[in-house]
């Protein structure tokens, strides 16, 4: 494989909205895997840290023509226009506290470097970034379940989905110790992918034609990864953020809800 030779990966996700049940297991798996804190009241969604948030979409029609669909939204790990790694957020962070890895395509977040200016949050149109408005507090004793693989964040900084980067590192370490340079598809999977009871989330290397994500999304390398699968779409494709999370839906209205269209744009834009 050409890509395997020069080792440049483009990890990404395909989420099948026909399968997603809105059950929220992915959200909880992410919270549990990544030591995401919680408060006594989490009903103010504007201050509730959810690296992965399941949005509820509706078609806006009255009963009984109404329809709903759930859309899980992790960080899109945007590659930016032309895949140069100028993600909306990365390009604006003044302290290089969030970065685009050309090795994996993952947008990192360095908690100890972030000084909490929140410019990246203003830049992200997906609201994938969350600020620690409070000190994280676990009820007495509950800090026992915290995972040592992900450091809990302090007050005053921004955090977001990392594509469970620590799992990549652990998998890499293991592979290296076994004398391998390349990871198998199944060796690096995110916590949400693993947990989803509906098998709605697929994760892998979008550059690798053998990986399921590639086959599902059929990214067009000549067009910044635009999906060629007519049922696939990305959120806000038109802004040029170049996300690495693809969605599948057999429903036209759902695909259309993924982006903004003018009436004059017609329907073809949404496939």
């Amino acid at each position: 494989m050409e890509n395997e030779h020069h080792g440049s990966k483009k990890y990404g996700m395909v989420i099948d909205l026909d399968k997603c049940t809105g059950c929220g297991a992915c959200m909880a798996a992410c919270m549990s895997e990544n030591n995401v804190p919680f408060k006594k009241d989490e009903t103010d969604k504007l201050t509730s840290i959810t690296w992965l948030r399941v949005f509820k979409l509706s078609n806006g029609k009255p009963y009984p023509d109404s329809d709903i669909c759930y859309l899980p939204r992790p960080c899109m790990h945007c590659a930016g226009p032309g895949e140069h790694g100028h993600s909306p957020c990365v390009s604006v962070c003044p302290a290089t506290a969030t970065d685009y890895s050309s090795e994996t395509g993952i947008v990192s977040q360095i908690y100890t470097r972030c000084f909490g200016c929140r410019y990246c949050m203003a830049a992200c149109p997906y609201h994938a970034r969350y600020f620690n408005w409070w000190d994280p507090v676990w009820p007495d004793g509950m800090e026992k379940y915290l995972s040592p693989n992900v450091s809990p964040r302090m007050r005053g900084i921004v955090e977001k989905c990392s594509f469970c980067f620590h799992r990549y590192q652990l998998a890499k370490d293991k592979a290296y110790s076994e004398g391998r340079r390349e990871l198998e598809e199944g060796e690096y999977q995110t916590a949400c992918t693993q947990a989803c009871p509906a098998d709605a989330i697929t994760f892998g290397d979008l550059n690798n034609p053998h990986h399921k994500v590639h086959q599902l999304a059929q990214p067009d390398p000549d067009n910044c990864g635009k999906p060629r699968n007519p049922h696939a779409f990305r959120l806000l494709e038109r802004l040029g953020t170049n996300p690495k999370v693809y969605y599948l839906s057999s429903r036209e209205w759902v695909r259309r809800a993924g982006d903004n269209y003018l009436e004059s744009d017609g329907t073809s834009a949404a496939h």
Partner: protein, 759 residues
């Protein structure tokens, strides 16, 4: 030396410049940021060796295999067990949140004796010896007074060693009053018994079905074994199976289905019979109805009376036009639906509204089950199987002394299984009434284990009154739940990650399977396995009761009981009969006719001349006066909220949308049309009133609910537990009340009349 102004100023400027050029400020700057990166109040999880323990989740009847990751002696993550027959690596939000229960603040940390008023939450820690002695002493006293029958026990399930120990204790002691929490299980089991003559559990071979006709079941919202069902649903997407959801509200299941039939509330069974009508009329039934069934055609009973068969009944009374009127579904659509169902290779019709938390009407279940018979999928691939009750518990019946025999003979307080309601085992919905002196005798003591009836039974206020009237209430709960809060004594069980226990038969699963839950970590607190506690109580009661409990402890009881399968359980975490297939329908049925009975004529062993019981549409009328309560309140279930077991830990609460709960106020869903007629807008505060109670809420406008309907989720409004769960929204059970099913006496309520006013 005189320092003049000039000198002073120069010195000052010089000093400032000096400090700025020295390393001091820069070092301070650096140190302060390093400090901010290591704030001592931000926890740093301790590292250690990673290990994995395979166990079984008990947080719902789903029976998923789980793998718990440990770092040192800490459990840090719960994941689905790959390769497990039920959930193959999947896990639900509830199962994922288990560690927050384990380490959370709601645990009862030692035996507690109430010192304040009931419900006040004032406790004294006591020793296990004292606790067991106190229970045994009180029971001994009640027994001595000849009131053994007035002791009741409530558990979530009646399957498995622990529920059986509780039942055994009550039996040997002399009480018939063991209760299982109500659910769909009750009505489905009864329907199976009546139509197929088996005491069995329905197994749904959903993986192999190609047309799923669901009458209100929350297939992806916790019905049956939740993870298994969600996986099956995804699988249907690839196999091209057709899913039809018959349900008034646009639930997630309805939205994900291929076809949503927005039926009028409560009219699901009518639709089923309309479909039956079309199938019969157009001759689209399988041969099963003619060949293997009884009561399809008109028939003559032993005494020469002619009875109308199912066919005639359906053809006369359930034409698509009639049904269209009842259900609000266009008659064309009914015909199309019937044709599609009949044309499918392996269609399955199933029910149990939402998660199946209310038993529902047995007639409804029979009407829907009849469709399976018409389609010929009883005990067939992709159909409904009768799965035998697990039979590994082969304890000799306890020896009964005279007191015990007398007690049992007094009869159950709910009259379940009595002459009026011969096929129903438990009627917890009557418990509240009878315990208030409306029964044949008062209840003097109640033991509750793994159940939280003070929260989860409809009409909680009534149940509270019943509790108030019981002089001695014991809870075995691991958590300070609503029922435990009302107890006089709490003898806390280990929670499921700290104990051994077998988990029989995941709900709705089509093959016999037993899971094993095992200690992931050592018990954190001074708790005791409820099995050991029950054995301890029996021992102290002495005599025949003690004799009925020959085991040294629960673990040995479990090992002995399960002996042949123990190895498999320990090795794989589960035992199953992978090759299991039910006896084909051609083998006949265990009914009086030896066939599948559309017309249930002869309750076996009794009353041979009983009237024919046919699947009919018998509307269940919701409680309340329509003039006073012009609207209807219907509960719904969501995976984000636990509606039973333990409430929803913080992970789950975090996923609850702000259109369901905002701050501490719950929201009730209404259609924009209804909102306009009530002059209400999104978020307006309202007072919701039902015949059972009232609650302050806000409204959320949703196009998914039909006009005139109010929808609210189950699982909010806890009053016990911790600050992360308590006092958030409204417990819908406080607003609902049971409506007895005329056939079974079970709670068949699917809603309650309600009124909504601007607050």
């Amino acid at each position: 030396m005189k320092i003049d102004r000039r000198c002073f100023l120069s010195l000052g400027v010089g000093a400032a410049a000096g400090v700025a050029l020295s390393p001091l400020p820069w070092k301070l700057l650096d140190d302060s940021s390093i400090w901010s990166q290591n704030w001592p109040w931000t926890p740093v999880p301790k590292d250690g060796a990673a290990s994995y323990v395979h166990s079984t989740c008990t947080l719902c009847p789903g029976g998923c295999g789980i793998t718990v990751k440990k770092i040192g002696d800490r459990a840090v993550k719960i994941e689905g067990k790959a390769g497990h027959p039920v959930n193959n690596g999947g896990v639900c939000i509830m199962g994922l949140s288990g560690l927050q229960l384990l380490y959370g603040p709601t645990r009862v940390q030692s035996p507690l004796k109430r010192v304040g008023e009931r419900g006040e939450g004032k406790w004294k820690e006591i020793s296990w010896q004292e606790a067991i002695a106190e229970v045994a002493g009180t029971l001994q006293k009640i027994r001595a007074e000849g009131d053994a029958h007035t002791v009741a026990g409530i558990m979530e399930s009646d399957r498995g060693t622990v529920p059986r120990l509780m039942q055994r204790l009550l039996t040997a002691y002399g009480s018939p009053n063991f209760f299982r929490m109500p659910s769909m299980q009750d009505s489905y089991e009864q329907a199976l018994y009546l139509m197929q003559g088996v005491r069995a559990m329905p197994g749904f071979d959903v993986e192999n079905a190609d047309f799923i006709l669901s009458f209100g079941s929350g297939l992806i919202e916790g019905w049956g074994a939740p993870v298994r069902m969600i996986q099956a649903n995804s699988n249907w997407r690839s196999t091209g199976a057709h899913v039809v959801q018959v349900e008034p509200r646009l639930s997630n299941t309805a939205a994900k289905s291929d076809e949503w039939i927005p039926v009028k509330p409560g009219a699901e069974a009518a639709l089923a019979l309309g479909i039956a009508h079309v199938m019969i009329k157009e001759n689209r039934c399988s041969g099963f109805a003619d060949q293997a069934a009884f009561g399809f055609d008109d028939f003559v009973d032993d005494e020469g009376r002619t009875h109308k068969g199912f066919k005639q009944l359906v053809l006369e009374s359930y034409s698509p036009e009639t049904v269209a009127e009842v259900t609000g579904i266009d008659s064309r659509r009914i015909v199309d639906l019937a044709r599609a169902f009949a044309a499918a290779k392996r269609p399955i019709a199933l029910t149990g509204r939402g998660r199946g938390l209310t038993p529902g009407s047995v007639s409804d279940v029979m009407a829907i089950h009849a469709l399976n018979a018409l389609a010929g999928n009883i005990n067939a691939d992709g159909g409904i199987w009768a799965v035998p009750e697990p039979d590994y518990i082969e304890w000799p019946a306890p020896e009964m002394d005279r007191v015990a025999v007398d007690g049992i003979q007094k009869g159950r307080i709910d009259k379940a299984g009595g002459s009026e309601i011969p096929y129903t085992q438990y009627l917890l919905n009557r418990f509240a009434l009878t315990a208030q002196g409306k029964g044949d005798y008062p209840i003097k003591a109640l033991m509750v284990s793994e159940a939280n009836p003070a929260y989860s039974l409809p009409d909680t206020r009534m149940f509270q009154k019943a509790l108030d009237a019981i002089p001695f209430v014991v809870s075995f709960s691991s958590y300070m739940d609503e029922t435990a809060l009302q107890a006089d004594l709490i003898l806390p069980n280990h929670m499921y990650l700290e104990r051994y226990e077998e988990v029989p038969a995941p709900a709705g699963y089509s093959k016999p399977l037993i899971g094993l839950t095992r200690p992931v970590i050592k018990p954190l607190y001074n708790t005791k396995h409820v099995g050991d506690t029950l054995i301890g109580i029996a021992r102290q009661l002495g005599g025949n009761i003690a004799k009925a409990f020959p085991w040294t402890d629960y673990e040995s009881c479990l090992r002995n009981t399960i002996s042949g399968k123990w190895d498999s359980l320990m090795r794989k975490g589960f035992w199953w009969n992978a090759a299991y297939k039910p006896a084909p329908a051609s083998n006949g049925f265990d009914t009086a006719s030896g066939k599948f009975e559309f017309a249930v004529t002869i309750p076996r062993g009794t009353d041979k001349a009983g009237d024919a019981l046919l699947p009919k549409y018998q509307p269940i009328i919701p409680e309340g006066d329509i003039a006073e309560f012009p609207l209807l309140l219907m509960p719904y279930e969501t995976m984000c909220l636990s509606s039973g077991y333990t409430g929803s830990p913080p992970f789950m609460m975090k996923t609850v949308p702000d259109t369901v709960l905002k701050g501490n106020t719950g929201l009730v869903e209404i259609s924009p049309e209804t909102a306009t007629s009530l002059n209400l807008d999104e978020g307006d505060p309202v007072m919701l009133t039902t015949p059972k109670g009232q609650a302050n809420l806000r409204v959320h406008l949703s196009d998914g609910v039909p006009p005139g309907i109010l929808a609210m989720p189950r699982g909010l409004g806890h009053r016990a537990y911790d600050d992360y769960m308590a006092d958030k929204g409204v417990n819908i059970n406080e607003l609902m009340g049971p409506v007895e099913d005329p056939v079974s006496g079970l709670d068949a309520a699917w809603g309650i009349r309600a009124n909504l006013t601007k607050a």
